[in-house]
Assembly symmetry: C2
Homo-oligomer: 193 residues x 2
């Protein structure tokens, strides 16, 4: 069994974010991350598949929280409100510290490979959400469209949550983005004069 | 100047789709595509940057058609209806022959690199659409949310358009997807009993 390594996962993530921020993702090695964290490479690879996955660890838990909350919403709840409940449950899986989310996003934004990886994770999240909605009896194409809308709301709330100076909770921002979306989709052309 | 090569672009695209379908995208070379089309590699590279771009050629024109139609919609038109007009204009830039679109999509679905490339193109389309909506005076976050909804509608209409046996026009499917989306976002919880 491994030696006792207090919060080795958190220390590795912190060291990785520091190094990616200082010298760029592409110029950082796993050996350097482990050294900065005061741990071994072997410990790194017990926690993460590779240096990219340090940034995306936890996305399975986030997806599971989203899907479970959608599935468990009462039958009487409208599809988009079930999605809102799912997004709030997913939000509870985001880093407690918005500073970590902010640093992570800046690193992803600076690297094309990481941006692609994020798009793929979001597409997978959307597919899982559509499946959960079909499980509630919503038919296609409504299920896929509602899922895409949900992911758009998630991204939008996330971007606003990590904005410098933002003090609103992720859950509040989800509700706010949904309200904006409902206003836009409800808008009808102004009458011709 | 180049020799006269009647529709070399179309012949190269046709040859590429044939070969990607027969032996896979990754197992096809530019030399083979040129040979199948009865043209030279040099002619290929006058038309396309690489073998991947054969599949994504025309996406700039599609984006330009989308953005222009959104910008030119009358001020009185609601944002989502301006987006619908843009999507119909973009649809007119899709292959005339749905069979070509269908073969292309099967090739993309079979290759992870091509799927990533498509996600990036769609993200770029969404960003361009959001900018066009801001140009109409729509503020953030409504502009980005509306753009994401528009791209979701575009993808959904496209998937239904290329379904085997589908006989509806892309424009009809755009209107249909938008109506589905409006129904979903308008739905409110059923009253508790």
């Amino acid at each position: 069994m491994a030696r006792w390594e207090p919060d080795s996962r958190g220390r590795l993530r912190e060291a990785a974010l520091d190094l990616y921020g200082e010298r760029g993702f592409e110029n950082t090695t796993v050996a350097e991350i482990a050294r900065r964290a005061g741990l071994t490479e072997r410990t790194f690879f017990r926690q993460f598949a590779d240096k990219r996955e340090v940034l995306f660890a936890g996305s399975e838990e986030l997806e599971a929280a989203l899907v479970t909350a959608v599935a468990e919403a009462a039958d009487s709840v409208a599809p988009l409100d079930a999605v809102a409940a799912g997004l709030e449950a997913a939000g509870a899986r985001l880093p407690q510290d918005v500073g970590i989310a902010r640093r992570r996003q800046a690193i992803i934004a600076a690297n094309a490979e990481l941006r692609e990886r994020e798009l793929i994770k979001l597409a997978s999240l959307s597919a899982a959400l559509a499946a959960a909605l079909r499980g509630r009896g919503l038919e296609e194409p409504a299920a896929s469209l509602t899922a895409e809308v949900g992911i758009a709301v998630f991204r939008n709330a996330f971007e606003r949550w990590i904005e410098p100076g933002s003090e609103r909770s992720f859950a509040e921002l989800v509700r706010d983005s949904l309200a904006e979306l409902r206003a836009v989709t409800a808008a009808v052309p102004a009458p011709a004069r």
